[in-house]
Structure formats: structure tokens, C-alpha cells
């Protein structure tokens, strides 16, 4: 296998993960091979215990695989040490979490600026401000830059988290149950943000257990017991803008009635 020959953003070759917890070895991921090309929007699905979170952690360079190889943007990251992985996370990956994971009592702007603090090249503070503001504009929150997370709604907090993920211009956006803590309308709004970003060319990998949400992506991978069971394109893909429009009309109708 020559990783340079194709331009896959993510290439997993027979990835395994075994956790040694006490006397029992937990084989969470048992040989996953997967290729994700630039511009894809992929949902990783599966019930709890299927190994999707473990896979996500490995894709996110938070957890090294026990066995197998992982090329991210052409780099074999399965052999890198802690600090090198930290740099990869900083430069190439943007994270969006279920629980938003924003720093409390820190303004939205400062939350978005945070990844730039850990850049290897120093970014002058005026450029940090500029980039953070631009990121917030992309998610439509520029006006709330000085708000603290507790002054923002769940959807707004998740937008701040997305802005933070985008600020270092990563090649990959990883979202772990990004709508898990949100109501259905806000969920659709967030999926709208993702669709827009994907249209601009950003590769997105999202873990979810909700089929409704997965239908906004382009490709669905289903895991069971640490192995891929289905990997297919999404048929009748949903468009977040249209869904929101529909939802509004329904609400209008309820009001009128």
C-alpha cells in the first residue's frame, strides 16, 4: 500500500484497538479499513459499544491504534509520539464535541482564539483576533464574540465550538455527536452549518447514532462490534435549509390553526 499514490484525507488500514482494563482485554475496534477523500461528509453510526467512539478518538489522533496504520493527509500518524500528535491535532483537525467543551467564563472570541495559542509559529495577536472573528462570522456569531458560554444557547455554544474547530484551517473536521445535546430544530441548524462548510470543501467526519441526523451527510458507515458492517452513500439526502423552511411552515400552520 502506498499512501502517497492517492490523495485520501484519511486512510485506515486494518486498524485495531485493544484496551487492557484489569484482567479482561476489551477489543474495541477489530480491523477497520476505511478511506475518506477530500470533500466527503461522512457519518459513522452504530449503537453504544460498537466502537465508534474509539474509532473517532483514533481518527482524531487522541488515541494511538494498537495495531494497523493510519495516514492522515499522507502522513503515517500511527507512529507519532504525544507531542507530534498534539501538533497534528492543532494543525490538521478541528474537533466538535457533544458537550461543546467550551471554556467557561471565557468569552466566545477567546474560546475561538485558544487553538492559535498552541500554534508552532507565533501568530501576532491582531491576526489571531482577525482569524477568530472570521471564524465566528462563518458560523454567524460575530455579534456574540464577547459573550460567555453561559450567556449563549446550546446551538450558539455549538457554533462557537465549530468556529474554534475552524480557526486553524484544518483539513478535517471531526464531530462527535454534535447534536446530541440539542433540540431538533437547533440540530438541523447545526447540520446546516456543517453542510455549508462541506460545500466549501471541508471534509467532515461525524459520529452519531441518530439516523435523521446521518441523512444530512453524504456517506454512512455503520459499525458493529468493532467492524464496519455497511458503508454506503446516503440516498435521499436531506438539505438543512429546506428542512428548516418546512419546519417553519409547520409551526406557522399550527399557529394559524
Amino acid at each position: 500500500m502506498d499512501p502517497v499514490s492517492n490523495n485520501a484525507v484519511i486512510r485506515l488500514a486494518d486498524l485495531h484497538k485493544v484496551y487492557h482494563t484489569g484482567e479482561v482485554d476489551v477489543h474495541a475496534v477489530r480491523g477497520v479499513s476505511l478511506e475518506i477523500l477530500p470533500g466527503e461528509f461522512i457519518a459513522i453510526m452504530g449503537s453504544s459499544g460498537s466502537g465508534k467512539s474509539t474509532l473517532m478518538n483514533m481518527i482524531g489522533c487522541l488515541d494511538p491504534p494498537t495495531e494497523g496504520n493510519y495516514w492522515l493527509d499522507g502522513t503515517d500518524v500511527s507512529t507519532l509520539d504525544r507531542d507530534e500528535l498534539a501538533d497534528i491535532r492543532n494543525q490538521k483537525i478541528g474537533f466538535v464535541f457533544q458537550g461543546f467543551n467550551l471554556l467557561s467564563r471565557t468569552s466566545a472570541l477567546e474560546n475561538v482564539e485558544m487553538p492559535m495559542l498552541y500554534n508552532h509559529q507565533r501568530i501576532p495577536s491582531h491576526e489571531q483576533l482577525e482569524r477568530a472573528t472570521r471564524s465566528l462570522e462563518i458560523v454567524g456569531l460575530a455579534k456574540r464574540a464577547d459573550h460567555h458560554p453561559n450567556q449563549l444557547s446550546g446551538g450558539q455554544q455549538q457554533r462557537v465550538a465549530i468556529a474554534r474547530a475552524l480557526v486553524n484551517q484544518p483539513s478535517l473536521l471531526l464531530a462527535d455527536e454534535p447534536t446530541g445535546n440539542l433540540d431538533s430544530q437547533t440540530s438541523i441548524e447545526i447540520m446546516g452549518v456543517f453542510q455549508k462548510l462541506n460545500d466549501q470543501g471541508i471534509t467532515i467526519v461525524m459520529v452519531t447514532h441518530e439516523l435523521d441526523i446521518a441523512r444530512y451527510t453524504k456517506r454512512m458507515v455503520v459499525l458493529r462490534d468493532g467492524k464496519i458492517v455497511t458503508d454506503e452513500s446516503v440516498r435521499d439526502r436531506l438539505n438543512a435549509e429546506k428542512e428548516l423552511e418546512k419546519l417553519k411552515q409547520e409551526q406557522q400552520a399550527v399557529k394559524l390553526a
Partner: protein
């Protein structure tokens, strides 16, 4: 990661828990405050001593007459009549000697105005006020002519004025010493008590010739005060006097002793130096206690902020970035504590100094030491918690509730 950004993050974290930060700093504040306070007060006491010693005259060498030995009994310095007026005149010709005064001391009953008072009567040369760095308050010092003519003139101290001439101007009036009338030509400016608690103003100064011939009929002087041109040449002057007198006296045993003010000052400030040494011990103990407090709170803080650490690691913070962040937080905490301690310690010493009417001097050296050691305490006590934080696993940290 930028140090400045880290300091900003640290300050924000400390502001978030104002009360806790303050309590954490308390150990350092009290430790540093106590040390700075006490050092300032001992510094003040030392300065007082130094001022008094230098008020004796700054670059002064004193020659004491010898040890008197009689039938195997040795009387100690000053007991033997070995120094003469001729010795004094010889010393005058030594290089870098600017003023010399032979000193003859005696206690006498002094009468004036129908009052009497027992006081120290000193025979001195006209250089005496200059050597002792002691200005004449009113009138003037007697002159060389008075010395040559054995004049019955006197300059008196403020205490003698108060005792014999209450509410009067004594200049031009007469006092009687051993029934001889001495005309008062000047009054010495008040000087206060010396190091040993003696009232320096309780004094009558007359020409040494008048003292030796009219009052005591002595042929020897008690000691000789010599002023050197500066304190740099004091050793040379001291050695030259030593050589000169040894040659003049042609004695096997040295029958005099030469001391300078620096030596006297060292003796007087020795105890306060020992006190400072003791304080260093107290400071070390209290800083160690403060450091334990900081380490404790930093450990709590690391646990509380596990999730924050996880977030920072997820977005690309290296282990070293986390380490530095917490280390800077601990150092910031201890440096703020140290600074507050320094300020409170100085305020404390100034208050005590004001109430007790004594000087307080905070040596810059001690401020630097206090600041540096608070920083060091921060580094030492912050390192373990910071190291622990940096070793967290990002996934575990992110999952931490």
C-alpha cells in the same frame, strides 16, 4: 505558547477564585510580611547604631593609652600613662591626618549661678568639634591661642546648659571648676545619647593644656582622637600611627592600642546580623509552609480543571504547554503573595517605627531576596501539580465529569 498569554490565563484562573487565591497566598504573605517587617526594624536599629557611630566622627582613629602592669596585676587599656602631648604632635605630621585632639578626661563638680552639677570635663584641642562631627550650636569653639595660653575658657553641652543655666543664654557667663572661673565661649549642638546609653551632651570641654595644668595637673593624656582624610586611608593612618608610636615609645610590649570607627561599628552591629541570620531560618520555614499550601491548592485546581486540560490538549496543547500554564499559575500566585507580603511587611515596620519613634529601613537586598524566594517557592510547589496535569491522557481528561 507565549508566556504572556500564559500569565493572562493564570491571572484569569486566579481571579475566578478570589477568596481561595487569597487564602492560598496567605502563607506566603505572612511569611514574607513577617520577615520584611522584622528585617526593616532590625535594619532601622542597625542604621541607628551606624548613625551614632558615624556621629562620633566618620573616619576616626582612636589611640588608647596602654595597659598598666604593677606587681603582676595588669590594669587593661587606658590604665597606664603612656600617651603624651608630644605623641599627639608627632601624629599630626603623619600623611592623611587632617585633625588631632589629645583627650584628657575627668569628672568634676561644676558650679554656676548658685547651682552645681557633676559632669565630664574634657581637655581637647580646637579640632574636637570637627573630629567628632559635632557642630557648635551657639558661640564658638576656643582657638589655638587659648591652648597656648592655658586659657580659662569652656564650651559646654546642652545638658549642662539645662542644669546650670535654665532658660538663660550661657555664652559669656562663667562656670567654676575646682574654684577656677572658666568663661563659656560656646555651646555644643545637642547630640543625644550614644550607643551605650550615655548622655553625650553632659559635657564641658576646655583646652587640653588648661585641663592638664590648671585642673588635674596631669602629664599624660587618656587617648588621642585622630581624623583621617577619608575612610579609604584609615588603614594606612592606623598603621602609621602604630609604627610611629612604637618607635617613639621604644618599648618591648606595645603600650597603646589603636582602634577605628569601623571596628567599633562592626562590634555594635554584630548582634543585629545574628538576628538577621535567625530571621532567614524563620523565613525559610514559613515559605515552606506557604509552598505546601500552594501545592495543595494547585493539586485541587488541576483536578477541578481536568476537563479544561483535556480541551486544551484536544486542540493541540503539548504536555509542555500544560506544564508551563500551571507552573506560571503557581508562580503568579506566589509572586503576588510575596509582593503583598513585602508591602504589608514594610507598612508594618513603618507603623511600628512611627509608634516607637525609631527608623525603619528595608534593605533592597531583602526585597529582592523575598521576591526571588517567593518565585522559587512557586516553582517548587507548582511543579508537581503542573507535571501531573501535563501527564493526563487527553481522552480521560475530556471525559472527566
Amino acid at each position: 505558547m507565549r508566556i504572556l498569554a500564559s500569565i493572562k490565563i493564570a491571572l484569569r484562573a486566579l481571579r475566578r477564585n478570589k477568596m481561595r487565591s487569597l487564602l492560598t497566598m496567605l502563607g506566603i504573605i505572612i511569611g514574607v510580611g513577617a520577615v520584611i517587617g522584622l528585617v526593616s526594624l532590625t535594619g532601622g536599629a542597625t542604621k541607628q547604631v551606624e548613625d551614632q557611630v558615624s556621629s562620633l566622627g566618620e573616619s576616626i582613629v582612636t589611640v588608647f593609652s596602654g595597659n598598666f602592669t604593677s606587681g603582676g596585676m595588669r590594669g587593661g587599656w587606658g590604665s597606664a600613662p603612656t600617651l603624651t602631648v608630644e605623641d599627639t604632635k608627632a601624629i599630626t605630621s603623619i600623611q592623611n591626618v587632617v585633625a588631632v585632639s589629645p583627650e584628657v578626661r575627668d569628672r568634676e563638680q561644676v558650679l554656676a549661678n548658685g547651682l552645681n552639677w557633676n559632669t565630664q570635663v574634657m581637655g581637647e584641642s580646637p579640632d574636637y568639634p570637627q573630629i567628632r562631627n559635632w557642630p557648635i550650636g551657639s558661640g564658638s569653639m576656643f582657638g589655638d591661642q587659648d591652648v597656648r595660653s592655658l586659657a580659662k575658657v569652656a564650651v559646654i553641652g546642652q545638658t549642662v546648659v539645662d542644669e546650670l543655666f535654665p532658660g538663660e543664654d550661657p555664652v559669656g557667663q562663667t562656670i567654676r571648676i575646682r574654684n577656677l572661673p572658666f568663661k563659656i565661649v560656646g555651646v555644643l549642638a545637642p547630640k543625644g545619647f550614644n550607643l551605650f546609653g550615655q548622655d553625650q551632651d553632659d559635657i564641658v570641654v576646655v583646652p587640653y593644656t588648661s585641663h592638664m595644668h590648671r585642673i588635674t595637673a596631669r602629664t599624660f593624656v587618656n587617648d588621642i582622637l585622630v581624623e583621617a582624610a577619608s575612610d579609604q586611608v584609615i588603614d594606612q593612618v592606623q598603621n602609621d600611627i602604630q609604627d610611629l608610636l612604637l618607635a617613639r615609645h621604644r618599648s618591648k610590649e606595645q603600650d597603646f592600642t589603636v582602634r577605628n570607627q569601623v571596628e567599633l561599628m562592626e562590634m555594635a552591629t554584630k548582634s543585629s546580623q545574628e538576628m538577621e541570620f535567625l530571621l532567614v531560618g524563620v523565613a525559610a520555614v514559613s515559605l515552606a509552609v506557604g509552598g505546601i499550601g500552594i501545592m495543595n491548592i494547585m493539586l485541587v485546581s488541576v483536578t477541578e480543571r481536568t476537563r479544561e486540560i483535556g480541551i486544551r490538549m484536544a486542540v493541540g496543547a503539548r504536555a509542555a504547554d500544560i506544564l508551563i500554564q500551571f507552573l506560571i499559575e503557581a508562580v503568579t500566585l506566589s509572586l503576588i503573595g510575596g509582593t503583598i507580603g513585602i508591602i504589608l511587611g514594610m507598612a508594618f515596620s513603618l507603623t511600628v517605627a512611627y509608634l516607637k519613634d525609631m527608623p525603619a529601613v528595608t534593605p533592597f537586598f531583602w526585597i529582592a531576596i523575598a521576591f526571588a524566594s517567593s518565585g522559587l517557592v512557586g516553582i517548587c510547589s507548582g511543579f508537581y501539580p503542573a507535571w501531573k496535569a501535563s501527564k493526563l491522557d487527553p481522552i480521560d481528561a475530556l471525559r472527566y465529569e
